[in-house]
Amino acid sequence: MLQQFRRLALFTGIAVSAFLVGCAGPAPNYAPSIDNVETLKKIEGAPAVKTGTIAVTAGMPGAAALTLRANTMTSPVGKNYGDYIAAALRQELELAKLYNPQSGVEISGTLLKNNIDAGGISTNAGQIEARFVVKANGQVRFDKVKRIERKWESSFAGAVAIPLAANNYAPMVQSLIASLVTDPDFVKAIRN
């Protein structure tokens, strides 16, 4: 009986280790979406713009660190994921040659939700929700909330599931920015 209990404990320990194993660290570098860059380049008559702060909602889970099973993933830039999204947007504007830190047109916002569910053994998902505001010389031209969700196939083994979840964060941000730059009201706001 005792031997069986020991084996069960060993089995449980290995299973838990397999599920949780992996290491914490910063999220991977953001990889700009070339589709977003090309979309931005096609906005006729758009002046260069600047990015302001993407603030985070006070007390929001996932603002500074995302929990991936027993591990945490922090933003590799700035203090939180609002800074990550602002830097991501700036990179795409820079590649489109539409970024000018002296511009009177500013894109800012607030991160409302930032979540990755990495606990699933067959699929996992993540959601980001953010309010984006475009101001021209202090006047609000655009104010909308954008929300995306991304799902991916995962694994029981934490050594696979955790890096997979981490590697899906940048594509989530790409989708969020795509939802912004393809919005006709956004295009109109930065064009005016």
Binding site: Q3, Q4, R7, L8, L10, F11, I14, A15, S17, A18, V21, C23, G25, P26, P28, N29, Y30, A31, P32, S33, I34, D35, V37, E38, K41, Q91, L95, K97, F156, A157, A159, V160, P163, L164, N167, A170
Partner: protein, 197 residues
């Protein structure tokens, strides 16, 4: 029952310890991809073509401890490739159909660049899976807007990462290899007399 538990424990141990293909990325650091000091960009609008089928190709190469790593070379390197072309030329566009020469000419594209990416990795670590060495080879076939061959550029990038470095970024050797290859690509492009003609 005892034998069954033993099999399950052994199988799980195998899953944990051996044979995993761990996902990493090769996403380069775009700030590291710049034109060499003093070099002037080539005053041409270029297009590049990566087939969608290649973007979705995932490759698996060796990691450490008998494990492997898997990643998407074309998808991961594309933003850095775009940045490299933006540094070397005055304008760059993504091209969907490289055979549509009329559309290329109508769009003002004077050169069409098609990259081929080859990678490899290795590790001297027996107990850690992230690669300690990574290599990226880029071969860029460049034709004019009529499809006539102009130049072929070949560069290779190498990246290394020690345990103390990669423990907070499992992809570090791959990122460094991408950065190295793309920096060399910018240099090779701006120094090519054939591309300035």
């Amino acid at each position: 029952m005892n034998r069954f538990v033993g099999y399950v424990v052994s199988a799980l141990a195998c899953v944990v310890l051996f044979g995993c293909a761990h996902p990493i990325t090769m996403n380069p650091d775009l700030a590291a991809v710049t034109v060499p000091a003093g070099a002037k960009p080539i005053a041409k609008k270029v297009g590049y073509h990566i087939p969608d089928a290649l973007r979705s190709v995932e490759v698996t190469t060796p990691g450490g401890g008998g494990d492997k790593v898997r990643y998407f070379p074309y998808r991961d390197i594309e933003p850095g490739f775009y940045k490299a072309l933006s540094e070397a030329f005055t304008s760059v566009s993504k091209v969907q159909n490289p055979k549509d020469f009329a559309a290329l000419q109508a769009g003002g594209i004077s050169l069409l660049i098609t990259p081929e990416v080859t990678t490899n990795s290795s590790s001297d670590g027996a107990f850690t899976w992230p690669p300690t060495q990574f290599s990226v080879k880029l071969v860029c076939t460049i034709v004019d807007a009529g499809g006539k061959p102009v130049e072929t550029i070949r560069v290779s990038g190498e990246g290394g990462a020690t345990f103390s470095e990669f423990k907070s970024n499992f992809s570090l050797a791959a990122v460094r290899a991408s950065n190295d290859a793309l920096s060399k690509l910018v240099k090779a492009l701006v120094e090519s007399p054939a591309l300035r003609k």
